[in-house]
């Protein structure tokens, strides 16, 4: 139902002479831009749109109709934890008492803001079973980088400069090795067993006095709990390394089993996954980093501390790894997560992980007749199919078979977001499904019906599945052309 005119780019709606703003008149007589020599000023005004306010409103409203959000429908993206984003979080984050604060304000004028930060880091410490959190990192990948810097700062403080390698499972999220590389660490890959868990026998020979630590997520990217985690942590600690927990998959563990109790020393949390803040079409998120007792001093500056008199202050510490952000991270996201922590509380967190796990296992059991389940048994928050079963859509070795991409695109036609596809890399046709706890049985049943109907259609009329989607705002886009004839600007 989109309007063709307003669906153009904003540049195409521009007409010379139109304006969309109003500013108060300048009240003072003084030199302005004239005091700058001409060599320091622009020769020509930048080419920005000239549009009236209503045109901007209609343009972006039409654009929004081409988008699919969690509020639109079910979003079973594996490893992304697309749970409901509560609106009270948004209401609290929009309070002027928070949005109007300048980061340079004296501490006695921002006691409410500092208290919120401090209380949130206390709550996350309890949830994770660790001693202290910084909320300064901006995102999951930024949290990983900060966590790895923490590990390096710890080794350096002991004069142990030779620990330059980090162990990463072959099933890890791509950011793990990339973060390690940016942190100046070399990656040592450990293999997975046939069940997709870390191969302890493959790990043993990798351990030595050059190992800074090991990065893991538990449950892993296949949604499987690594039952040998106590032994793995013992081995890594024995060789002098630290254990890093990638919090991308924390959701099913909430209120059941804590990373600190599993033997992890450092971890990051994604507030935009586990703690319900919106993903925003790719940020802003926030990636708090927590540490066990004895590692607090290495966390990045500035720290928020509570003084003996009960007031709150900012502090920089000797031994800190430095600063990784301009100020206290994506503070507005931290506010949203605090509202969520208050909403759930002790009783809510008793159910979150369990219901997320219930939902994932329910889908898995109901779809494994039509989709290939490479690893049987209980999963946690997510699981991975290796595409359609051969009897639905053909053998994977046959080029004409119906692929995971085809299934994903068919789901779009039926009003569902696609699962994560082609990750993890352990399977050729990976289809990774994570429903989260905020989805009802009715929603899951509707999704299951859709997935079954696609499988039946793949058997009967594979061409129609391969041509999907048919009813979306655009059809399959030409990714090759986007690289070959790269266009980054309208009008050249």
């Amino acid at each position: 139902m989109n309007n063709k005119l307003y669906s153009n780019l904003i540049f195409e709606l521009s007409r010379p002479g139109r304006i969309g703003y109003s500013l108060p008149p300048c009240e003072v007589e003084a030199e302005g831009l004239d005091c700058l020599p001409a060599t320091l000023r622009r020769d020509e005004a930048p080419e920005l749109p000239e549009v009236d306010e209503q045109t901007v409103a209609r343009h972006y409203t039409n654009m929004s109709n081409n988008n699919f959000g969690v509020d639109t429908g079910f979003y079973p993206l594996g490893s992304c934890t697309m749970k409901y984003n509560p609106k009270v979080n948004e209401e609290m984050a929009a309070l002027p008492a928070f949005t109007q604060l300048h980061p340079a304000q004296p501490a006695d004028t921002v006691q409410g803001a500092l208290r919120l930060y401090w209380e949130e880091q206390q709550m996350l410490s309890e949830i994770a079973g660790l001693s202290e959190f910084t909320l300064n990192p901006y995102a999951g990948a930024h949290g990983e980088l900060t966590g790895l810097m923490t590990i390096r700062a710890y080794h350096r403080s002991r004069g142990d400069e030779k620990r330059t390698k980090i162990i990463v499972p072959d099933s890890a999220h791509g950011t793990n090795p990339a973060s390690a590389a940016v942190c100046g660490l070399q990656i040592v890959e450990v293999k997975s067993t046939a069940r997709g868990t870390v191969d302890v026998e493959d790990l043993k020979p990798l351990l030595g006095d050059d190992i800074a630590g090991m990065m893991m997520t538990n449950p892993n990217t296949l949604g499987i709990f690594e039952t040998e985690i106590p032994e793995i942590a013992r081995l890594v600690h024995e060789c002098g390394g630290l254990m890093y927990y990638d919090g991308a998959n924390l959701n099913p563990m909430l209120g059941v089993c804590r990373p600190g109790d599993m033997g992890f020393d450092v971890m990051h949390i994604n507030l935009h996954k586990t703690f319900s803040t919106p993903h925003g079409g790719g940020g802003p998120g926030d990636g708090p980093v927590g540490v066990r007792k004895g590692l607090e001093q290495f966390l990045p500056d500035p720290h928020v501390v509570r003084r003996e008199d009960g007031t709150f202050a900012l502090e920089c510490r000797d031994g800190s790894l430095g600063s990784v952000s301009t100020f206290l991270g994506n503070y507005g996201i931290i506010v949203r997560a605090y509202a969520y922590l208050l909403s759930l509380g002790r009783d809510g967190f008793r159910m979150t992980g369990r219901l997320a796990t219930l939902n994932a296992n329910y889908i898995k059991e109901r779809l494994k007749s039509h989709y290939l389940l490479p690893i049987e048994g209980l999963c946690k928050h997510e699981f991975v199919f290796d595409g359609l079963r051969p009897e639905y859509g053909g053998d994977h070795h046959d080029d004409s078979h119906v692929t995971t991409l085809d299934v994903a695109k068919s789901l779009l036609d039926l009003g569902f977001h696609a699962p994560t596809i082609y990750f993890p890399l352990l399977f050729h046709e990976a289809l990774m499904i994570e429903p989260t706890e905020t989805e009802s049985k009715d929603t899951l049943d509707a999704f299951i019906d859709a997935m079954l109907s696609i499988a039946e259609r793949a058997k009967e009329d594979p061409a129609s599945v391969k041509a999907a989607p048919h009813h979306t705002p655009i059809r399959r886009a030409d990714d090759v052309k986007a690289v070959k004839d790269a266009i980054f600007k309208y009008g050249g």
Partner: protein, 440 residues
């Protein structure tokens, strides 16, 4: 238990457990070793109703004080048009994921494309990425990218006139990443060009990062700098807040290879430091070394214009440990803030914002200097921010005195310096009141 965020009825749970073939929710964790299980409830307060949450936030809000803002230092109190937060709060945008499924993400992809194009035009460079976390991390990424693009050269020169927080973050990154950094001293409030020439002689310099405007609000003159660097096969990066790009000579016009900084000044609220948005633009020659996502234009199978995430071969999920950056998604929603702001303001609005801010800053500066209690530390051209040397009182005392009266009188710089900023939102009355407070 029932909770407004959990739709499961007891009957639902019973039926689902039966399909799975286990007896209870706890049995879903049968494989987890008992000694790892918490075995108790988390030590958190009971869950709260919305009304209680509002009450708790009202209590916290009462412990924050709104001050009339004369501080900048990376966070600028500019006007945000009403339409901007209205559009960005549409949940079709805010509750969506990174636009991997292009067919149902054209809204996100189109506004990022528009944002990229606006930033490319403002910086005078060829291509923008889809955002970084903030200005400081964007500058640190520019540092790492220059060493990656220059291959065997591993040294980056950072001007010490860059804001302190930007320098701090760059120093942190470099101490782990392994880039070597040399700090170029300041001379009379400007980057010491002679020190750059001397450092270049060693032949190991991958690039230089200079600020615009700099930490003291001064607009620096980079005439001849790009030619000198390119002659030595070194890159030039210019780092600064985005709003002044509307009126100052662009990084591209100075001959820069990279422009980066914070775009908070384009309509994003102060928000106690975040979320903001780092911008990052470069020349076409460097596109394959750019960090972050990039949106490009293509066609769908029916030949219609379509936007997609492109050039992904650069990115961490493909290159893993060979990636030059670990950035995946950054500040997506803030691109929409900037795109909507720039659509409404246009070049004229941006010009007016900067003109009114600059006039206010020069008015305030003159009034304070005329009092005899301050002097302009560096006699250099400035835009909307300036550093004063305090002759009659300590900056920290002035700031707390002003705060009691409801004013944020800039930020302290060293023992005797106060850096003040004026935007178009400050009235003459507020400026006169501040002068009164600081000079009486």
């Amino acid at each position: 238990m029932q909770h407004r965020y959990f739709p499961h009825t007891e009957e639902d749970i019973r039926q689902m457990l039966e399909v799975i073939g286990v007896k209870s929710l706890d049995d879903l964790y049968a494989e987890v070793p008992e000694e790892l299980k918490l075995g108790r409830d988390l030590d958190l307060p009971e869950g709260k109703s919305e009304a209680e949450i509002r009450r708790i936030f009202a209590g916290l809000s009462a412990q924050n004080r709104h001050l009339v803002c004369f501080a900048g230092a990376g966070s600028y109190d500019h006007y945000t048009p009403s339409l901007v937060p209205y559009i960005t709060s549409r949940s079709e945008f805010s509750t969506s994921y990174t636009p991997y499924q292009a067919e149902i993400s054209q809204g996100t992809l189109a506004y990022i494309f528009e944002y990229q194009m606006m930033m490319a035009r403002l910086t005078g460079l060829d291509v923008s990425n889809a955002s970084m976390y903030d200005g400081a991390t964007a500058t640190a990424e520019a540092m790492m990218m220059m060493t990656a693009a220059a291959r065997k050269k591993n040294r980056v020169l950072l001007s010490s006139t860059l804001p302190q927080r930007v320098l701090d973050v760059c120093q942190t990154y470099t101490s782990y990443h392994g880039t070597e950094v040399t700090l170029i001293p300041a001379k009379n409030g400007l980057t010491d060009r002679k020190a750059i020439s001397e450092a270049l002689a060693a032949g190991d310099v991958a690039g230089v990062i200079v600020p615009q405007p700099n930490r003291y609000g001064i607009v620096e003159d980079f005439t001849g700098l790009a030619d000198e660097l390119h002659g030595q096969k070194a890159f030039l990066s210019v780092s600064g807040p985005a709003s002044p790009l509307g009126v100052l000579k662009s990084p591209g016009a100075w001959g820069a290879d990279i422009a980066c900084g914070d775009a908070q000044s384009l309509g994003i609220p102060l928000g106690y430091g975040g979320p903001y948005i780092g911008y990052f633009c470069a020349t076409n020659a460097l596109i394959r070394k750019m960090p972050g996502r990039i949106v490009g234009q293509t066609e769908d199978k029916d030949g219609r214009r379509a936007f997609v995430l492109t050039m992904q071969a650069r990115e961490q999920h493909i290159r893993r440990e060979k990636a030059t950056s670990n950035i995946c998604t950054a500040q997506g929603m803030m691109c929409l803030y900037v795109a909507a702001y720039l659509s409404l303001m246009g070049a004229r609005g941006l010009q007016e914002v900067n003109e009114t801010s600059a006039k206010g800053a020069h008015y305030l500066c003159k009034a304070l200097v005329d009092s005899g209690k301050f002097e302009l530390t560096y006699p250099q051209p400035f835009l909307n921010e300036f550093r004063l040397t305090c002759k009659a009182a300590k900056p920290a005392d002035l700031i707390s005195h002003a705060a009691e009266a409801g004013f944020l009188a800039g930020v302290k710089d060293g023992e005797d310096g106060l850096i003040l900023c004026v935007t178009e939102l400050r009235t003459k009355e507020e400026m006169d009141q501040l002068v009164e407070l600081l000079t009486k």
